[in-house]
Symmetry: C2
Subunit: 435 residues, 2 copies
Amino acid sequence: MDNRHAKNNKHISLNLNVRGIGQSPTLAINELSKKLSAKGMTIYRMGLGQSPFPVPNPVVESLKMHAHEKDYLNVKGLESLRQAVAHFHRQKDNVDIKPGNVLIGPGSKELMFILQLVYYGDLLLPTPSWVSYAPQAKIIGRNIKSIPTTFENKWRITPKELTEFLKTENDQFRPRLLILNYPSNPDGGTYSEDDLKKIANIARKHELIILSDEIYGQLHFRGKHVSIARFYPEGTIISSGLSKWCGAGGWRLGTFAFPPNFDWLMNAMAAVASETYTSVSAPIQFAAVRAFKGGILIERYLWHVRRILSFLADKSVRILRKANIRVQSPDGGFYLFLDFSPLSDKLNARGITNSTMLCENLLEETGVAILPGEAFLLPKEALVARLAFVNFDGAKALALSETIPLNEKLPEEFIDNCCFSVIKGMKLIADWANQ
Amino acid sequence: MDNRHAKNNKHISLNLNVRGIGQSPTLAINELSKKLSAKGMTIYRMGLGQSPFPVPNPVVESLKMHAHEKDYLNVKGLESLRQAVAHFHRQKDNVDIKPGNVLIGPGSKELMFILQLVYYGDLLLPTPSWVSYAPQAKIIGRNIKSIPTTFENKWRITPKELTEFLKTENDQFRPRLLILNYPSNPDGGTYSEDDLKKIANIARKHELIILSDEIYGQLHFRGKHVSIARFYPEGTIISSGLSKWCGAGGWRLGTFAFPPNFDWLMNAMAAVASETYTSVSAPIQFAAVRAFKGGILIERYLWHVRRILSFLADKSVRILRKANIRVQSPDGGFYLFLDFSPLSDKLNARGITNSTMLCENLLEETGVAILPGEAFLLPKEALVARLAFVNFDGAKALALSETIPLNEKLPEEFIDNCCFSVIKGMKLIADWANQ
């Protein structure tokens, strides 16, 4: 054991872009949760953004049927899956995607990383933003330019704000990648069709590439998701995957759909893919064909999921607003972004002056785990936090919902029957914040 | 379509380390194969290094049983899988690996990429070497220092050669990663226990980190694979996975086993993993537990596979040597590395002066697809090529082998019954080279 690596960590040789990453606020909350749980405390797990619903049955059956598939598949993806994904976008988004412009990856996160690695440009990031866009840019060494949004504008960038941001850039045709995520993580909000059109026009004028992260698209509560690719087809990459609408986060399958003239970018990504993940797991790709083909069974699943999530969002928002916590009604997905600023005097008096302290205190005192706004690139001192209302038995909720006709509202007793811990979590937050 | 990206590829903005990659000799051979196949030519697919054998039945059954698993798993891997992998290395390699030092990735290739990304050091690469180590370093921007080996030394670096190479470095304690791959791709050779001990001592003295790529370890024909981690446990990372010995290349599951004091490196890799692939597909990880746990069914599979591969290697080497092609007898795996230099006058006279021309001409004239030595980092003009003797029905071969007691040799008719195309490929190469 006379190797210098064995002695201590002082002399280790690590890429400086990587050194020190990983100690994210998310991790801190997870570790504290584990500690408290070990002490016997009931933890309300509203931190991790994982769909509570099972993978639809026909998709699981398809995985079983293809369990023996063992060949390395094409780096860009199984041909029948690329066809199914193109079909999905044509049918769901009314965007003319060709199978040849689809790239399959082990999660859309991996595809985003490779996109940032191969594309030599700045990252334009409306904030709050999902936790991984910025760390990816940091690892690779790209510039991150955040464009702040406000509660009043439902945490969306307005066309005016985007224009004004772009005016501040001296170099008008600098290569830039604008990431839009809608319905959004962390706030569940989406863009109006009108704003998407205006943003599309601005992007066209400035030749921005848009990475449109639509992983929550099919979880729009009214099934009315609109993609900006409809208005900027020549510059939009649509990102999607199985993780959210299909409940298969752990399966790791993401998709990119490129504009027709982006072969230069897709092929460079495929070249890196061939030196990294090689191809996505074969049995998973075969099963994903079934998911993206859709049909009545999948649609039924989606409508039940939407009804349940929308119902819970509505109940939760009411409880939180009554407690003077500002929160926008989400349009889709399973997140709420809570703004505790109306209670800042009270919280400050208790020594809580930033989002990390807010979440740590909340967790320690109530057992409710949510994530600090800091993790989503908001200023440390903003008293905001993301909550994922997913701490319920999704299989049971689906089974119950299926007994109630889709044109009816879910009854109040639905909560007690299967989603009690979600509402209990809201009440704990409300009481805690107003102590 | 007024976007500059749409017009042409002149003004695209790509990372210069990535621009132009992907047009590898491998790809060229694959494309030519497709063209010839479309014209009706019979292609002997000896290019791609994929196991011809099916995934063992208990492992496929385990995947079916876990098809419903949908949760995001821990970034470092499923706990029971990390235990099974540690157990595997303890049992198979006699190396004391702890579950906490195991990292699971979507293929060992992805883990190697992330290793090179996070570790800030040079890459020391005995050549010929597997096709992806160097391109990974190039994408990331690391220095590659190749250490040439010779046919006479069975394409292995000798302890003496390693020492001499290290003498040429002015900076004796420069951070460096030495990759050893044995049994090897592209030549099937392995190291003697004595050489491993000597190399281990040199590595210790110079504080090299060794990445020991043992993905073909279980395909050592006599089941006698020895890991260098036995002699340099404090500085060796063992790389393995399901792709080769378990026939599951398309499943994408690789493993790294770290020395006990390498948390600094493993944790940095896990941090990058959490911003890229997140975790390996859950159903695949559950199934992999069954594979790494091993047992009698898996052992029986391995011994039949070894007997078949060893038999084919032996027959093939005889045919090729008779034709004046130099080739070392492999110790394991499913590759032969052919050296056509004794025939160089004849080949030169036919206008064949480098390995790419050699492989293209061979393919066009005989339908046999093999890969040029250039792809393995040998000089372009060296008339060498890698052949993968995998173009046979592995399921049928296994079934036949199972009818013959393991202590017997396979009979001559085994070839005609299920591996005819392998031997036919050898004969075509032999005849073509001696025209």
